[in-house]
Amino acid sequence: MIPGSFSYHRPASVADAVKLLADLGEDARPLAGGHSLVPMMKLRLASPAHLIDLHGIAGLKGISRNGDTVVIGAMTTQHDLLASDEIARSAPILHETALLIADPQVRYRGTIGGNVANGDPGNDMPALMMTLGASYRLEGPGGARDLPAADFYQGAYFTALEPGEILTSVSFPALAAGHGYAYEKLKRKVGDYATAAAAVVLTMAGGKVATCTIGLTNVHETPLLAVDAARAVIGTSLDAAALKTAAAAAEAIMAPAADARGPVEYRKHVGGIMVTRALQRAAAGAK
């Protein structure tokens, strides 16, 4: 399979990339790791006239901590996340989640920016970014803006990115000391998207849940924050009744597609189980 013809551009700065995107219009696509876009191009489901490869922009790669904020450049790969001591220290749930994305080869190329910006409901990082309270730096012809991850996703492959804009970094507040976390992902095989997945970050105090955030992957056309489910467990010791209430509240906002991963009812059911398991494991790991 060979993609359609295109012109290849490799700008050296974000400003140059933004200018190219703005000048070339909707026939141009930014290229990050390429592991979503290139297969689509080979299948001729995408045929951009111009590819703007972001690999030449050195400033887009890297992980840093700025006070209490962790900043990750958009071209940082999943493999970079796995190799990072800063991520292991500041946000181990990111390490856990990256390890569940695709396979080793894909993780060497796949980037966090591509994962969150593509708007694919099957991608794992968007729900996690919402759970972490992350924001995205978007740079375009009119300058830069920061948008909460929770406001970014509007539909499947439909995001708040304006024409000419590039997502250049993600940032989130460092997690509380002693927090518990878990990303539970049910998938049919290595490399598959989630049948359903849940991210949980919580803190415990005196054996009861003090704070809790829950994100859901691939059970709706966008990633979701399960706000009611999280609220249902705060103040509880995560007893069976609280877990059941939380799972039911999470299932109530799920609207997965029926596909090869299963019918709607099944995917909602296992979505509730992922929430339950993630809550239990997060609580067990909290200090």
């Binding site: 399979m1 390429g34 493999h79 080869q105 894909v106």
Partner: protein, 166 residues
């Protein structure tokens, strides 16, 4: 479409060529360089038969354009043998442990395992299985591929390979 001049190092040799932007790296390697050890399996980024090593990363060469590899340092399965032409520890492992049947996935398996052992010279069995999870074999059931990598790991570490009891 105008062609672009690319240069890269492949198995230690400087190579160059003219490519269309849409030329996939695997096509450049197989057709321009005539290095046909790198296989095209699924062409959809799943099977790993096209895995090559680029600047210290295992990459599925069907999912990268040749222009993107301009200036890079690549190892294909043809570059895995020892400098004197003898079999590397991995190649010897695949031979001794019968780590293949039809052999189609073998180049990708060996190139991937090469990077796995560089990053982790003593992987556990689960680490080997996760490490090659981007490479699909439809013959062996993976048992002997895992053993082949264990054999290579033992040899690299200078210890005798002990096959686990089954």
């Amino acid at each position: 479409m105008a062609k672009t001049h690319v240069t890269m190092k492949v198995n230690g040799a400087e190579v160059e060529g003219l490519v269309e932007p849409r030329t996939l790296l695997v096509h450049f390697i197989r057709e321009n360089l005539q290095l046909t050890g790198t296989h095209i399996g699924c062409e959809t980024t799943h099977c790993g038969a096209c895995t090559v090593d680029i600047d210290g990363m295992s990459v599925k060469s069907c999912t990268m354009f040749a222009v993107q590899a301009d200036g890079s340092d690549i190892i294909t399965v043809e570059g895995i043998a020892n400098a004197d032409g003898t079999l590397s520890a991995l190649q010897e492992g695949f031979r001794m442990m019968h780590g293949l049947q039809c052999g189609f996935c073998t180049p990708g398996m060996i190139v991937r395992a090469h990077r796995l052992l560089k990053e982790n010279p003593s992987p556990s069995e689960p680490e080997i299985r996760m490490g090659i999870s981007g490479n699909i074999c439809r013959c062996t059931g993976y048992q002997n591929i895992v053993k082949a990598i264990q054999y290579a790991s033992a040899k690299i570490n200078g210890v005798e390979f002990q096959e686990a009891a089954e």
